[in-house]
């Protein structure tokens, strides 16, 4: 706990939390939303395709999706850490925050599994798409939905 109290009192945390510049808290928060749109948006497109939506889009079209997912993830890990410092003492014990982190972790595990199942072959031509892949795609949609809702509820649940 001492560590989080110290972290929250660093000049960086004070700058993020209280600097009147729009580049401090407002821009970091907005970038966190941009990163979310990139990560969740890309995963949702992949999941919808694996569930049979836009079935004539070749799976190879999603070959470069990981670049987008990891770019968005990196933006959100960085901005998320910065936002965390401003309220570290509280966030470190906030249940819904750990729910959010767990859901993101599980969603990324599912994402990794889907990439392995579908895209590790030289030319992914999965038709029909297996039941396991469909189930994982549905679980992925649920996990990202849960993570998004949990993130929003961080402003409401203590």
């Amino acid at each position: 706990m001492q560590f989080f109290i110290w972290l929250q009192d660093t000049p960086f945390a004070h700058w993020v939390a209280s600097d009147p510049s729009l580049l401090a808290y407002p821009t970091i928060l907005t970038l966190h939303t941009v990163g979310m749109a990139i990560v969740v948006g890309t995963c949702v497109v992949m999941d919808l395709r694996l569930l049979g939506i836009a079935g004539d889009v070749p799976l190879s079209a999603l070959g470069r999706a990981p670049r987008l997912v990891w770019t968005g993830f990196f933006i959100n890990a960085a901005t998320g850490l910065a936002l965390f410092t401003t309220d570290a003492e509280h966030k470190a014990v906030q249940t819904v925050f750990f729910v959010k982190l767990s859901l993101i972790f599980l969603a990324l595990v599912v994402y990794g599994r889907l990439r392995t199942l579908v895209f590790r072959t030289a030319s992914p031509q999965l038709s029909p798409i297996s039941g396991e892949v469909r189930a994982l795609a549905a679980v992925s949609l649920l996990l990202w939905t849960g993570a998004t809702v949990a993130g929003r509820l961080m402003a409401y649940l203590l």
Binding site: G41, L48, G55, D56, A61, T148, L153, A155
Partner: protein
């Protein structure tokens, strides 16, 4: 952007029964609509973005017609966000009516909408007829870039709403 001109409208909306119900009688409505608004924006940006990236020339070999099958899902995301956005506005019109960020958000919504209509009426047929491996013409790339930039601008001004308010009394 002057506040007084819009005061009667704001007062009228706030005085309606619907506004009162949204504001005072459904405690979980605001967080629920925020959650849906964030889910809608991810769906919209993901699916519209996929089509825009194809128009920009990425994913060569994917027929444009196939990529366009994701666009109805962008419209679902947009519909969710229009509905939840209207609920925000009707609940607390004073937070939005005089907020510069809100008007910039609406401006970019119009740019995105007009751009999409222009695409449908003037470019779509010709581009759909291209071979999947053909290079995208400059017109397609411009439409796609305008679309991507305006949707991210909508997101930017939406998220910056509480911070770009020149009239902080509105209390976002």
């Amino acid at each position: 952007m002057t506040a007084p001109a819009l005061d009667p409208l704001v007062e009228f909306i706030r005085s309606t029964r619907l506004s009162e119900v949204f504001r005072n009688e459904v405690a979980w409505l605001w967080p629920l609509c925020e959650s849906l608004h964030f889910l809608g924006l991810s769906l919209l940006i993901g699916t519209a973005g996929f089509f825009d990236l194809r128009l920009l020339g990425f994913m060569q070999g994917v027929p444009l017609r196939s990529a366009k099958r994701f666009v109805p899902w962008a419209m679902v995301g947009f519909a969710v966000n229009l509905l939840t956005g209207l609920i925000f506005f009707i609940s607390q019109p004073q937070q939005y009516a005089t907020n510069l960020a809100m008007w910039l958000k609406v401006l970019f919504l119009l740019v995105a909408g007009i751009n999409a209509m222009l695409f449908e009426t003037s470019f779509s047929d010709r581009l759909m007829a291209l071979e999947p491996d053909a290079d995208m013409p400059l017109s397609a790339k411009v439409v796609a870039a305008v679309s991507l930039i305006s949707w991210f601008a909508v997101l930017y001004f939406g998220r910056m709403l509480p911070y770009l308010d020149p009239n902080p009394q509105s209390g976002v």
